[in-house]
């Protein structure tokens, strides 16, 4: 693969920055959403993918309450349209990086549901080998470079992945998911500045679901129209109704293509809503009303697509069959996860270091703490 000079800018950043002064198509998270810019994106396949995410999230909550899933478990129910759209806009060689609310993105990117569920169960065949759990899903083969658990920590990394793509002469782009709460971190500022300064092919997808834990966007951000903050870096920014499949798909495709062909980074703020609490341990009602949740549920992205498909001539039975298939997939994933063995304890340190490292650590053995010899040094530490 020909390597390219990543220091050479390919586009006139400043000339293109004006577009970020255009108003976004929808109002703030609390305001009334405008009509989607592009309807007609509803297909049975997309519908089924959205349902699969909803079903897996619902099942995850059940399994968590049955103590088969532990740790933190952040559900994305309500956010399926933008999730499916973003994943579909990615080409197979593009890269995806997300935060910790990532089950949906993993599924939409094509990570097998069994591998996701096995990871949530902490089992051997999990997509992170039972080391990552809910927050740290990944699939390197599919270009999914991880769910990350520190708010905004994945942003500088996404910038670096984009730098890597450019250095390797690859024509691909990075999509970096983050929450509305992440935009107030220093890492946001640093990553966006570098991405704009170095003309890197990365799209920062801000999933504005209204809240960072219990803090609304308005209570956290001095500029609550988050897309506008791209202008501080002369970067293109825009807002889309993230519950509108067609508009989301259009925006993601356009911005990713721009990133690929012109090396122009962008911020896309997708306005959506999270139905469940911040994590399954949060009832989600201390900071918002039941009414608000109910009102937002009326705009449910899955129901919208369903309605569109029905209006387009599909029969209820066809959609019900898709629902059934999704449920069956999740059921099978659970059965798989349950049957999958736990990771081998003697391989506790497996993967931590690169092959060959065991030799480097061998001389550390004499004064090692109790049991370290057995569990760490013998346990696949880079051997």
């Amino acid at each position: 693969m020909p390597r390219s000079d990543s220091a050479a800018p390919t586009a006139d950043r400043r000339a293109l920055a004006d577009s970020s002064d255009e108003p976004g198509p929808v109002a703030g998270a609390g305001g009334a959403p405008a009509k989607g810019a592009a309807g007609g994106a509803a297909t049975i396949e997309r519908y089924e993918r959205m349902v699969l995410i909803r079903e897996l999230e619902t099942e995850s909550e059940r399994q968590y309450k049955a103590a088969r899933i532990g740790g933190y478990c952040h559900l994305s129910s309500g956010q399926e349209a933008i999730t499916v759209a973003a994943a579909e806009a990615l080409r197979s060689d593009d890269l995806l990086v997300t935060g910790y609310r990532s089950h949906g993105f993993a599924l939409a990117r094509g990570v097998p549901p069994e591998a996701v569920m096995a990871e949530l169960f902490g089992r051997r065949s999990g997509c992170a080998r039972g080391r990552g759990g809910s927050m740290h899903l990944l699939d390197v083969e599919r270009g999914y470079y991880g769910g990350w658990g520190i708010v905004a920590g994945q942003l500088p990394i996404a910038t670096g992945l984009a730098l890597g793509l450019v250095r390797q002469g690859r024509p691909d782009a990075v999509l970096c998911e983050l929450g509305d709460g992440a935009v107030n971190m220093g890492a946001w500022h640093e990553a966006l500045n570098l991405a704009a300064l170095w003309d890197l092919p990365v799209v920062f997808l801000v999933i504005n679901n209204g809240y960072g834990m219990g803090t609304s966007v308005e209570r956290a951000s001095a500029e609550p129209e988050l897309w506008r903050r791209a202008s501080a870096f002369r970067m293109h920014g825009e807002r889309v109704d993230g519950d509108e499949l067609g508009a989301s798909l259009e925006a993601c495709e356009r911005l990713l293509e721009r990133a690929r062909s012109e090396r122009l980074p962008a911020v896309l703020e997708a306005v959506t809503y999270r139905y469940r609490g911040h994590s399954v341990a949060d009832a989600g009602l201390a900071y918002r009303t039941k009414d608000e949740v109910a009102t937002r549920r009326e705009r449910d992205p899955i129901a919208r697509v369903r309605r569109e498909l029905l209006a387009g001539g599909l029969a209820e039975a066809q959609l019900d069959a898709a629902d059934e298939r999704a449920r069956a997939v999740v059921e099978a994933a659970c059965a798989f996860a349950e049957a999958d063995p736990e990771p081998d304890v003697t391989e506790l340190a497996a993967g931590m270091h690169a092959p060959g490292s065991a030799q480097q650590f061998a001389r550390m053995l004499p004064g090692s703490p109790l049991d370290e010899r057995e569990l760490v040094f013998a346990g696949g530490l880079g051997s």
């Binding site: 390597r3 740290h136 991880g146 500088p156 480097q360």
Partner: protein, 344 residues
């Protein structure tokens, strides 16, 4: 150009040249940049300015702005960018102007770079090098005179090396760049001008995880790394001349992995261990060593393991206060003599 004096018998002597620690580092960077197109340098003032401490001087002109990339003052941003590029198989060598500024990128080092191997089940690697000078002694005061090496050596998933000589500066930096894991290379401001005989063969490296005996002795072992090793050797020479005491100096070279074998072999021989470090001793490298030594050498110890580090204050400005606070030669000498019952 000279020949390495102690080249093992029966082997052709290694061709070396006398140069400073700084020049040795630059030579390592140049060789690795030339050998591997995945290698690139990134950091504040590494290019146009020739490096805040001139380690990267001339490399921009030789390799261009793509390989020697100036960054804004944005440590969290560009350390993270290094992590991302490394995950994709690039080999970024990130320079942090001094160790003090790595604190603002701590999250990227500890919570991201170090986690990638294990947290993702060994499916991703992070061949990132962070190189940065630390150390005190130039009246740089509290915020710019620190050696918190142990913060990083504490973290599973990291590798941390700290060369104390020009030879190892080149050898360890090269090993770090070729390693497939994140490696922190701790340089030292006062060492930059120290000269040594540096092997010229581009394939010569110093292995990670291997300490070495920097001076042989029989009465007591000083275990040290980085600039403390220079201090220890000076004190050892003086003690030999003035008191007939022979101190063995073990230079750790790597902090993680830690070569306990070499340390234990030496302490078992001498029966006494003094751990000297530039940083604060409480919860420090010496604390770790003391625990390991008492375990590995319990039956051979003739005295408790002792530690000596920087006085536990933020380093003051006044020259006399600064000197008093550092693990200076006088303090090391006193400690050795006391441990041997030759002073109180």
């Amino acid at each position: 150009m000279t020949m390495l004096a102690d080249a093992p018998a029966g082997r052709t002597p290694i061709e070396t040249a006398s140069m400073t620690y700084r020049e040795a580092l630059r030579m390592a960077l140049r060789e690795e940049l030339a050998a591997d197109e995945r290698v690139f340098i990134m950091g504040e003032e590494v290019g146009v300015f020739d490096g805040a401490y001139k380690v990267t001087a001339g490399l921009l002109a030789e390799f261009g702005a793509d390989r020697v990339r100036d960054t804004p003052i944005s440590e969290e941003g560009f350390v993270g960018a290094g992590v991302g590029a490394a995950m994709l198989g690039e080999r970024p060598v990130v320079e942090i102007m001094t160790l003090n500024f790595l604190l603002v990128a701590m999250d990227q080092v500890v919570n991201h770079a170090a986690k990638i191997g294990a947290m993702f089940g060994g499916q991703l690697r992070c061949p990132l090098v962070i190189r940065t000078p630390n150390g005190a002694g130039n009246q740089l005061t509290a915020q710019h005179s620190q050696s918190f090496d142990q913060y990083f050596a504490h973290v599973p998933g990291m590798k941390v090396v700290a060369p104390a000589s020009a030879t190892d500066a080149k050898g360890l930096l090269k090993s770090a760049i070729r390693d497939d894991d994140p490696v922190l290379v701790l340089e030292n401001l006062r060492l930059y001008t120290e000269k040594g005989d540096v092997p010229l063969d581009p394939s010569h490296t110093t292995p990670i995880g291997l300490a070495h005996v920097a001076r042989e002795g029989s009465d007591l072992t000083i275990v040290s790394h980085s600039y403390a090793t220079v201090r220890a050797r000076q004190v050892a020479e003086r003690l030999s001349a003035e008191h007939g005491v022979e101190v063995e100096v073990v230079d750790l070279r790597s902090l993680r992995p830690l070569d306990v074998e070499t340390v234990a072999a030496s302490v078992s021989k001498t029966g006494r261990a003094l751990c000297v470090e530039e940083g604060w001793a409480t919860y420090g490298v010496g604390a770790e060593l003391a625990a390991r030594i008492q375990h590995a050498c319990f039956d051979d110890l003739d005295a408790p393991v002792e530690r000596l580090g920087m006085a536990e204050v933020p380093l003051p400005y006044a020259k006399n206060l600064e000197t008093a606070a550092l693990p200076n030669a006088g303090r090391i000498e006193r400690a050795v003599l006391r441990m041997l019952g030759l002073a109180r």
